[in-house]
Amino acid sequence: MVGNKAAATACKLARVQVASAFPITPQTTITQYLSEMHANAEWDFDFVNVEGELSSQVVVQGASRIGARTFTCTSGPGLLYMHHPMQTTGSGRLPVVMAVVHRSYKGMQPDHSDLMSQEWTGWGHWYVEHAQEVLDSILMAYKVAEDPRIRIPIAVGYDGYVLSYTAEPVEIPDQALVDEWLPPNKPIPEVLPDKVNKATFGRGFGGEADPQVPWKVHHDAILKIEEVHQEVMDSFEKTFGRRYGNAMIEPYMMDDVDVAIIAMGTIAGTCKAAVEKMQKEGKKVGLIKLRSYIPFPVKDFQEWSKKLDAIAVVDRSICPGKGGPVYQRLRETLYDMKKRPLTLQFHAGLGGKEVRVRDFELIGDKTLKAVKSKKVEEPVTWV
């Protein structure tokens, strides 16, 4: 099953009630799968074929406000186009789930610049590695987003082409089990005119006693995702027998290593092969796959930093003039630690550039060299 089919299948399993999307490569086939599933009445849902991504985001916002379970999906330019209403979905605390099939700002090929650029919109941002993880993560995203402690939209990002259009074996969970594990979303009764109420949703006129309060509440709710996401990962494993690390990160061959490489998305899979090879050769290098960029696994990295001599951060996006977001976020996370590992920044896979096993070996070697000399000669490397 290709990644995009896994995403559409997750919608079916989650019994999404209203989906809306606009085609863009490499997300396009999700819109086609959903249209087919709708035409074939595979389950009872509404699919709104809109005239642009801005509208798809606003359609799911409206339907989610009424209490329907909603789904949308897009890529690169489409995501940028829906930036404005993404912010209102976030501020509205609406549990929308969106698949972001990564496509670079520059060109059609995948990198993480699309979703990274949306970090201010007030969503949870997850990055996943393979088609099974796409399906499983979308299901988990609903359970986290709709949790009364959270009520925050979640974007599940996965790389275009290598994942969207590439077939891999995917185990489809049993519908009855999913139904039991993921009960229907609950509407907010205040939005219905059943009693006289002048409740206003989604319009900020200011005038609150303290206009910072909505920002703080929103921020705190997103931080809370960490705990709920971990609970959901545990219950997912109990029900379906699969898990992805502790939800926030997935350490791979991290026993007794001096160096960790941080990578996200499909290239984390490539890194796994590189780590296996390097460890066979006696190099003490492991992988920490980063799954949740927002909220960021602060505690996890602080703990790991105590055991590591160096961390190599592979950023598949760059804020021009500012740098790699994961590298910068990691460094601020480690600032307060008494003992800080060395950190190295690697720019890789931008604009869809292929990242090979031997690239990760180079990253590992360079980082080991820094450990040996106790010094980072060259902090930034373009792989």
Partner: protein, 297 residues
């Protein structure tokens, strides 16, 4: 088509809660008051940025300025999903939210024939941000972005014919209304409530601040606009059936509408004559359509 009502049939119960943030003599506040009276309690009101901030007894949902059509779509589909199709999703938007920045989403919602009702209060400019031109601003009107000067006679282009543009989407119901004709306005909302699919009612809503007239003249000016044929009252069903709701034997001269508004004060006799000629010729075709009972789109 709507059925005539008498003044006594206008519902007594107010759905609007005053005061909102409206200025004195605000036509749009009056449009909201009348429309929501007719709509009654079983609606969810949708807003996008615009003025004034009328508060209704019904819940209100808002979104980005450009998102009105998609938000109504989402609500209406959501209501269907939770089995509450009895509740009507109503938009109350400005001309900017309808003619301009909101047009794409509304046009798409019209084309999909979403089950929604859009009410546009047309004050012919972006009043909330201080009277900048919109696609609804008529020719020669001055706005804060169409000042008069050696290179400018006010707005250069005619007002977009938005009712006909929506009618050309072949939607179930398009109507124009005016705050000076409350029975007609309410009759149209009443009718819109009885049908399903995409419905839009565009209400002429004079703005004393932007159009520059004394606040007590709102109704007078609105009425003069209708009586001069500048704001004809009509209904179009399915992009085909047409009815003109107000047909005086003779139109009043456009000067009765233009003269009291300082936004037109700079107009020359020749410019006024041009508006008169244009209005008369458009009126002729409306009369013809009314006689045939249909529009040719």
């Amino acid at each position: 088509m709507s059925e005539r009502i008498t003044r006594a049939q206008i519902p007594m119960e107010e759905m609007g809660i005053t005061p909102g943030s409206a200025c004195q003599g605000c036509g749009a506040a009056l449009a909201a008051r009348l429309a929501f009276k007719a709509l009654g309690p079983n609606v969810i009101r949708h807003g996008v940025p615009c003025c004034p901030d009328t508060v209704t007894k019904t819940p209100q949902i808002g979104t980005v300025f450009e998102g009105g059509g998609a938000l109504l779509t989402g609500t209406s589909r959501g209501l269907k999903a939770i089995g509450r199709e009895d509740v009507l999703a109503v938009g109350f938007f400005g001309d900017g939210g309808t003619y301009d920045i909101g047009f794409q989403g509304l046009s798409a919602a019209a084309e999909r024939n979403e089950n929604i009702l859009v009410i546009t209060k047309d004050n012919e400019a972006y009043m909330n941000t201080g009277n900048q031109r919109s696609g609804a601003t008529p020719k020669y009107a001055t706005t804060s972005t169409n000042p008069v000067g050696p290179k400018s006679r006010g707005k250069e282009q005619p007002k977009k014919n938005i009712p006909f543009i929506f009618a050309a989407h072949y939607v179930p119901y398009v109507a124009t209304a005016s705050v000076a004709f409350p029975e007609d306005l309410i009759a149209k909302v009443n009718y819109a409530k009885t049908i399903t699919g995409f419905r839009i009612i565009i209400i002429q809503s004079p703005c004393p601040v932007g159009w520059r007239f004394e606040p007590e003249k709102t109704i007078e000016i609105a009425r003069a606009g209708v009586q001069a044929g500048i704001w004809p009252l009509f209904e179009i069903q399915n992009g085909h059936d047409f009815k003109l709701n107000y047909k005086p034997k003779e139109l009043k001269p456009v000067t009765e509408y233009l003269k009291p508004q300082a936004r037109f004060r700079h107009m020359t006799e020749a410019e006024i004559a041009e508006v008169q000629e244009d209005t008369t010729s458009k009126w002729q075709s409306l009369i013809q359509s009314d006689e045939m009972g249909k529009v040719l789109i």
